[in-house]
């Protein structure tokens, strides 16, 4: 019985990734493409993807732009507020590696300097199809993350 329930949950996880979109330091090119995914043409809701705009409800953190000293705090804060299991998708060249801003004095580099990124969507800017593909790939990793979450919880229980 518990097994069936777990299966349902695991299946649902793949069908309902809610995203929160955070614009770090982007030139807005990637943001426009990300939001374009919501339009009738691409219609991400087909895959159950909803832009919830609230980390407490989200499963996937979509980050555009590179991290700098100003926004690293907010980025970490938002990441921390997303309940497990969660995934991070870096959208665009800047988010992946820092892009053209990589060597700037105030830029830390790509998102992976701060957060564990699961999927890199390269491009300047990436096409909406690529972004959707990235999110769906991130969703594929959810089960693995959930298992990890469970493991750490069990560990806690043992430690208690």
């Amino acid at each position: 019985m518990g097994n069936i329930f777990q299966n349902i949950i695991s299946k649902s996880r793949k069908k309902s990734p809610w995203i929160v979109h955070f614009d770090c330091n982007s030139c807005n090119g990637c943001d426009i493409e990300t939001l374009a995914c919501l339009t009738p043409l691409y219609d991400v809701e087909r895959f159950g993807i909803v832009n919830v705009g609230n980390p407490k409800h989200a499963d996937v953190l979509v980050v555009t732009g590179s991290v700098n000293n100003r926004n690293v705090r907010a980025l970490k804060n938002i990441y921390n507020q997303i309940p497990e299991p969660k995934a991070v998708v870096a959208v665009g060249a800047c988010a992946c590696s820092g892009g053209v801003f990589k060597e700037c004095y105030n830029v830390l580099g790509g998102i992976d300097q701060v957060l564990p990124v699961d999927v890199y969507v390269p491009g300047c800017c990436p096409r909406p199809e690529a972004i959707i593909d990235g999110i769906v790939m991130a969703v594929g990793k959810m089960d693995e993350k959930a298992a990890k979450m469970k493991e750490s919880r069990n560990l806690e229980a043992v430690n208690d």
Binding site: N54, P55, K56, A74, L75, N77, N80, Q81
Partner: protein, 654 residues
């Protein structure tokens, strides 16, 4: 004979205690007196319940003694009015002296030229009086017990050099005695005397602190209630001139029929007007709001079981006399109007005591509205509401007083996070508030009855419906604020004075038990009283009237659920709280979302990084709609409307 003794104790014991308080000025002695008074008065009240039930629900007693008690009361009455005139002179308020003089003139003329036939039965006890006696004798002394601890702190806060507590308790006890007398007596003149005693006592209590504001508000209370007093004596004169008796039971049981003409309706209208002033209906509400400057036990007393309840008692007592007439309908409109406007104004208030005051005014309005509707269901609702409102509101005032001493403010916004500082008081306050607006507690049940009763009067119905929507608004805001809390690893244990804690706990117990035992309460007290009143629609007492429990046997059938089941569900939910508290682990706690700008990992999340890296704290206030429902904006208009309605009332009955 023993019944006389009980009645004498009910009225005179408080007076005796008052005497003792003025003689024994030590703190210990006072505590003993107050506690003893609480015990004796509650026992007497409970014994009286047995008497009345044995006597079949109504007990009328005459006094056969060589002493002419009527004369004594008359002399006391006149002395009291003279004392009021003296107050007026000493405060240089000619208005008060004038009003009191008018009253004196009427009383003297009536006594000398009226050749008054005093009724033989001086005391009359039925279930309505009994409910009031129970409230006065149990809730009243409980408030006094609370005051023991409170007044001490209060005087510390006020930095008083010489304690004025003896005076305070003397007045409180006289007040309680007068209230008991007011509800027990069967002689209208006596009632008038006790009425004046409560007026004077309330003046003395409100101006107790002797600050300029306190005295000003005391004076306002005095003159408004003196207007009511004049209406009262005028009512007595008019009714006596028609019916030739001062016995309340005879006046009430005289059915209005063809005889409902001439001076009788005006007389009854005058009595209602007196009731309106005493229970602070619009446009007479300002004295009750002013009374908020007094120490909290005073507000607790004035608002719950005494003073304002005297007004509604009067209206409910005489309701059968004008049931079903146009006078009744307009009284219902006055009450309903007060209910709506009181609730609306409560929304705009930030001061906790003022919110409670407006809520009191609104609920009294609902009681008067029910009395005006005058059917069996309506009067039942009025009687039940008197009980539930007295207990819940008494509790809430005491809670606000405790909170005020705890956090040093009575502003609702300052109560945010109260759970951290005063968990015990917070929980009790929330119980009190919930009992004012949610099922399955008594106040909502009576509101339900009121709506059922008002169905045939569309105007009144609309007023009740809109009023109850407003009610939800201000209570919900307040509950939300005081329940705001962040994660706590351990609960702070609150230190309260024993007397304060006792009074709060006992009142909470009463709130819960009264609501749980609503059916026995209805069946033993309300239903027999209604059947004695013998109003027209007796069938509604016996037929299973929808979801209402009238005649449905011994279980309150709350729309398919026995109400007791409802309580079980509630308690089950409450019991889950400790489970959640135990199972909530610190590592699962996250701070609130603030756009990623939380200053640090502080789980309370009360600070965020603002522009220019400045640390700012989060302040979210409730909506108060000052521009829409503010006092400045509404008071004048609603007073005019309310005054107009009362004018119409007299215009119609003349």
């Amino acid at each position: 004979m023993e019944t006389y003794l009980l009645l004498a104790i009910a009225i005179l014991l408080p007076v005796l205690c008052a005497g003792l308080c003025s003689v024994i000025r030590g703190r210990t002695g006072r505590s003993i007196i107050v506690t003893a008074a609480l015990l004796v008065m509650s026992v007497v009240a409970v014994l009286l319940v047995g008497r009345i039930t044995a006597a079949g629900g109504k007990l009328a007693l005459g006094l056969e003694s060589p002493i002419d008690f009527n004369l004594i009361v008359e002399i006391l009455d006149i002395a009291l009015i003279v004392y009021i005139i003296y107050i007026g002179f000493s405060l240089k308020k000619m208005l008060i002296s004038t009003l009191a003089s008018i009253q004196l003139a009427i009383v003297l003329l009536f006594e000398i030229f009226g050749s008054v036939k005093e009724p033989e039965k001086v005391f009359m006890l039925d279930y309505l009086s009994l409910i009031m006696v129970l409230l006065v004798s149990i809730v009243g002394p409980l408030v006094a017990v609370f005051a023991l601890g409170y007044m001490q702190e209060h005087e510390e806060h006020q930095h008083m050099k010489k304690s004025r507590q003896p005076r305070f308790f003397v007045i409180i006890f006289i007040f309680l005695g007068a209230m008991n007398g007011l509800v027990i007596t069967n002689n209208l003149m006596w009632m008038g005397f006790f009425w004046e005693v409560t007026t004077v006592c309330s003046f003395l209590l409100i101006s107790h602190d002797r600050t300029e504001e306190a005295v000003r508000n005391g004076i306002r209370a005095l003159w408004i209630n003196l207007v009511g007093g004049i209406a009262f004596v005028l009512g007595i004169v008019m009714i006596y001139s028609v019916s030739g008796t001062l016995a309340i039971d005879e006046i009430v049981s005289a059915r209005p029929g063809a005889a409902f003409a001439g001076l009788l309706p005006i007389g009854l209208g005058m009595l209602c007007l007196a009731g309106f002033t005493k229970s602070a209906q619009f446009p007479f509400q300002s004295w009750l709001l002013g009374a908020m400057v007094a120490p909290t036990p005073v507000s607790g007393l004035l608002h719950s079981s005494t003073m304002v309840k005297a007004g509604v008692y009067l209206v409910v007592r005489f309701a059968p006399a004008f049931a079903g007439t146009i006078l009744g309908t307009i009284v219902a409109v006055v009450g309903g109007f007060t209910f709506v406007v009181g609730s609306a104004l409560a929304i705009s208030q930030r001061n906790a005591k003022r919110v409670l005051a407006y809520s009191t005014i609104a609920n009294l309005g609902l009681i008067i509205c029910c009395a005006g509707i005058g059917t069996n269901i309506a009067l039942g609702a009025a009687m039940l509401l008197i009980v539930f409102h007295a207990i819940s509101k008494g509790l809430l005032f005491l809670c606000v007083g405790t909170i005020e001493h705890g956090i040093g403010s009575r502003d609702i916004e300052d109560m945010q996070g109260l759970m951290k500082k005063m968990p015990f008081t917070t929980v009790i306050t929330v119980i009190g508030m919930i009992s004012m607006l949610l099922p399955p507690f008594g106040v909502l049940m009576t509101k339900w009855l009121a709506i059922e009763a008002a169905v045939h009067l569309p105007i009144v119905l609309v007023l009740i419906i809109i009023g109850s929507a407003f009610t939800v608004f201000f209570w919900a805001k307040w509950i939300g604020i005081i329940l705001t809390m962040s994660y706590k690893t351990s609960m702070h244990v609150e230190k309260l004075k024993v007397s304060v804690k006792t009074a709060l706990s006992v009142l909470t117990l009463f709130v819960l038990s009264a609501s749980i035992l609503i059916v026995p309460l209805f069946n033993t007290f309300v239903a027999p009283q209604l059947s004695m009143d013998a109003l027209g629609d007796a069938s509604s007492l016996t037929s299973g009237n929808g979801g209402i429990w009238l005649g449905n046997g011994n279980t309150l059938n709350m729309g398919g659920f026995a109400s007791i089941g409802f309580f079980i569900v509630l308690f089950a939910i409450v019991l889950t709280i400790p489970i959640f508290i135990r199972r909530t682990k610190p590592e699962k706690i996250k701070p609130p979302y603030m756009g990623g700008e939380n200053v640090n990992d502080d789980i309370r999340g009360i600070e965020f990084t603002g522009p220019g890296d400045k640390v700012e704290s989060v302040i979210v206030h409730n909506y108060y709609f000052k521009n829409l429902l503010g006092e400045e904006r509404l008071t004048l208009v609603v007073n005019l409307i309310a005054g107009a309605i009362i004018m119409i009332m007299f215009g119609v009955v003349i």
